[in-house]
Each structure stands twice: as structure tokens, then as C-alpha cells.
């Protein structure tokens, strides 16, 4: 069973790397959204620094959401999902591997890009570790929850906007905790509490959402 897990990870990685532009798109989107704000509210360092925790997190949230729209689409269209459903392996395990592979390349790249953009927004160096850890803990939740929406909307012709409608309200706790951690760090307060909460939400998401994703896919495939 675990061999299927690693095989699927390898297969998904291979697929992602044969179309690298799709990996880069969410990152470019993330950078552009962040660049829009200084242009919209003005370049004062003080102001940018105050709003940067929320800004980085909202941008990351949207970037992850956009990258998830097509998560299962090609698998749905070419019949791969049907093969997964009729296979003897638990579908929840397979989707976990799929989402993990997706996160490892799009989510993780986002996390690595964030410090650079954070510095451009005037975040002090001291807060960068908190930014990194909070995104590292938060983006898997975003990917997993978003995958639930992607699974439910995969059979629809235009699922993009609907996906955002379904999933953004569910992202709110992550947004609050993630930007809260960064804000605390910015004010020189300890951010450990926020980060621990985020970590427990991550654990919760990893254990529960694969079942919801699997249920969603079965519904979409069975239509």
C-alpha cells in the first residue's frame, strides 16, 4: 500500500515537471498581487509594514486557491480518477499523495518565495522565521481544504469561481492564525501560541480532509 503512495508521489512529480509553467503561475500571481498593494496604498514603509502580515497571507491564500482549480481536472477528464476509484487502494490515501505532491512543489515554492516579498514590504529580518514557519504550517491546510472544493467542483465546466465561493470562508481560521502570528512577531510578542494552533489545525486537516476529498471525488466520478 505504501508503495502505491510513493509511486503516485513520483508520478505526480513527474507530471508537474513536464509542465513547469503551471508550477510557476501561482508564484508569479503571488508576487504580482503583493506588488499591487504598494501601488494602491502608497509606498510609505510604515504603512506597508503594518499591513504586510495580512497582505502576505491573503495573497498566499488566493495563490493556493487558484493553483487548486485544476488539481483534479485532468485526472477527471482522462479517466484516471475512475481507475483510482475501482482500484483496491483506499481513495483517501491516493488523494493524500496527490495533494502532498501538489503542495510540495507549489505550496513549498510559495513559502520559499514569501520571505523575499516580505522583505520588499518592509518586514524586519527578525520576523522572517515566523513568516516561514506560519506559511509552512498553514499552506498544507489551504491545499487540503481547497482540494475538497476542487473535488466537489471537478465535474463542472466552470468551477473556478464556485471553488473560491465554497472554500474561502473555510480558510478564515488559517488566515487569522497565520497573519496573527506575523503580527505578534512584528510587535515583538511571542508567536508560539499562534503557531501551535496552526500546527494542530494542520494535523486535523491531514487526518480528516482526505476522507472528504475522496467522498467528493466519488460523487463527481459517479455523476
Amino acid at each position: 500500500m505504501s508503495s502505491v503512495f510513493t509511486l503516485l508521489l513520483a508520478r505526480e512529480t513527474r507530471l508537474l515537471f513536464r509542465r513547469p509553467a503551471e508550477l510557476a503561475n501561482p508564484l508569479v500571481f503571488f508576487a504580482i498581487v503583493i506588488a499591487l498593494f504598494p501601488l494602491a496604498v502608497g509606498p510609505e514603509t510604515q504603512l506597508l509594514q503594518t499591513i504586510s502580515p495580512g497582505l502576505v497571507w491573503v495573497a498566499a491564500l488566493l495563490a493556493v486557491l487558484l493553483s487548486l482549480d485544476g488539481l483534479f481536472r485532468s485526472d477527471f477528464e482522462d479517466g484516471s480518477l475512475e481507475q483510482w476509484v475501482v482500484s483496491p487502494h483506499p481513495l483517501a490515501l491516493l488523494v493524500l499523495a496527490k495533494v502532498l505532491a501538489h503542495w510540495a512543489f507549489s505550496g513549498l515554492a510559495l513559502v520559499l518565495l514569501a520571505p523575499l516579498l516580505g522583505l520588499m514590504l518592509g518586514l524586519p529580518i527578525g520576523t522572517i522565521p515566523v513568516l516561514l514557519i506560519s506559511l509552512l504550517l498553514g499552506t498544507p491546510i489551504l491545499s487540503l481544504l481547497g482540494a475538497v472544493g476542487a473535488a466537489l467542483t471537478v465535474g463542472l465546466k466552470r468551477g473556478g469561481l464556485l471553488l473560491a465561493l465554497l472554500i474561502l470562508p473555510l480558510y478564515i481560521p488559517v488566515l487569522i492564525l497565520g497573519s496573527g502570528a506575523l503580527q505578534a512577531a512584528l510587535q515583538g510578542l511571542p508567536a508560539v501560541g499562534h503557531l501551535l494552533w496552526l500546527a494542530s489545525l494542520t494535523a486535523l486537516a491531514v487526518t480528516l480532509t482526505p476522507f472528504a476529498i475522496a467522498a467528493g471525488l466519488k460523487i463527481s466520478v459517479g455523476e
Partner: protein
Amino acid sequence: MNWTWFHKLGSPKWFYEISGRWLPWLAWAAVLLVSVGVIWGLAFAPEDYQQGNSFRIIYIHVPAAFLAQSIYVMLALAGVVGLVWKMKLADVALQQAAPIGAWMTFIALLTGAVWGKPTWGAWWVWDARLTSMLILLFLYFGIIALGQAISNRDSASKACAVLAIVGVVNIPIIKYSVEWWNTLHQPATFKVTEKPAMPVEMWLPLLVMVIGFYCFFTVVLLMRMRLEVLRRESRASWVKNEVKALVGNNS
């Protein structure tokens, strides 16, 4: 334990008959309770020592907010029943209750905003309760939109069920995180609904209103469900007879 009643409950025909018998009683109860509650609450309940007469909006706001939250939980429960026991009636209940829940949330938000004007001096403040309510409205919109988007009826109900269950697991997390966010950003705001002791003359009409609202919800839900059952079972002979009888009465 005998489970036949449970399966009987899933039969559309049985549901249609039994709900038809309950409906008039529930409707009268709803009318009676709501009118008693409104008159009592608006005319006879004492004034609030801090807020004066403006507090009276709780007689609408609180029942609507209660109902908004319990309907979402009901959606998730119906979703579980529909997914696990494949009961069609639960699917019907889920899809028919969602718009009512959204309306109740909207009413709670609206009355909350109206109440906010004299209390905080602004139509909208990012108070923890109001914000949670707003998010709940978004969750309802998600379920309604998903149900409308999927053309296959069975898939639509199942998809909504999954979304409602995911949502109900999330609601406590959202609620606590929003409350936490609120305390971080607005320490010590004036909490209107957390009065330690409300005198009996004030909360008794409120209780009447809450029960009245629940009755009203049940009536509306049953009426919507009956209509949907007729639509879904339109091939069955009992439905044809029923519709013939209904049309015959009207003409």
C-alpha cells in the same frame, strides 16, 4: 431495536401524508407563538436600563441567529443521514433548508446592523458575533451555489452533504478563531448579548419568540419539502392522484 420506523420515514408517500396532518397544527402554533411573542416583547416587556427601547430588536435578532446556526447543524445532520443511510428524504431536507437558513442569517445580520446603530453608533462594526454570522452567510451561499451548479440531482445533494459536513466541522474553529481575533484587535468592547442576568419579564417573551421561530421554520421547511417530494416522485401514481386532487380543488 426495531428500525422499520426509520425506513418508513424515508418513504416519500408516508412523509407526504404525515406532514400534511402536522402542518396545520404547526402553522397555528407558529402564528400564535410569534404574535404573542411580538406583542409581549415589543409592548409589555420592560425597557432596558442601558439601551432603552432599542434592545427590543433582540426579539427578532436572537431567534433568527439561533435558527441560522441550528439550521446549519441540521444541514450537516441531514447530510450524514443522506450519505450513510442513502435516505432520499434527507437530501430533500438539506436542499430545501439551506435557503431558509441563509434568509435567517441575513435577518440576523440585518437586525444586528440596525441594533448596532444606536449601540455602537455605526451600522457595521467588526464584532465577533456579527463577523461569525457573516461567515455563516457565506457558508450558506456556498452550499446553495454548489447545489444549483450541479445538474444531476443526486450528485448535487451528495456534494452539498459533504460540504455541509466539512463546514460544520469548521464552524467551531471559525467561531473561536474569530472571537480570538476580535479580542486581540478590539479589547473590551461592549458585549450586548452577554448580559449576565436578564429579568424574567424580558427573557420569557424571548423564549416564546424562539419557539415560535422554530415552529415557523418547520412549517416553511415542510411545505418546501412537500413540494419537492411531489416534483421528484412525479412518476408515482399517488403523486398523480394528489396533484389531480389539488388542481381540482383550486379550479
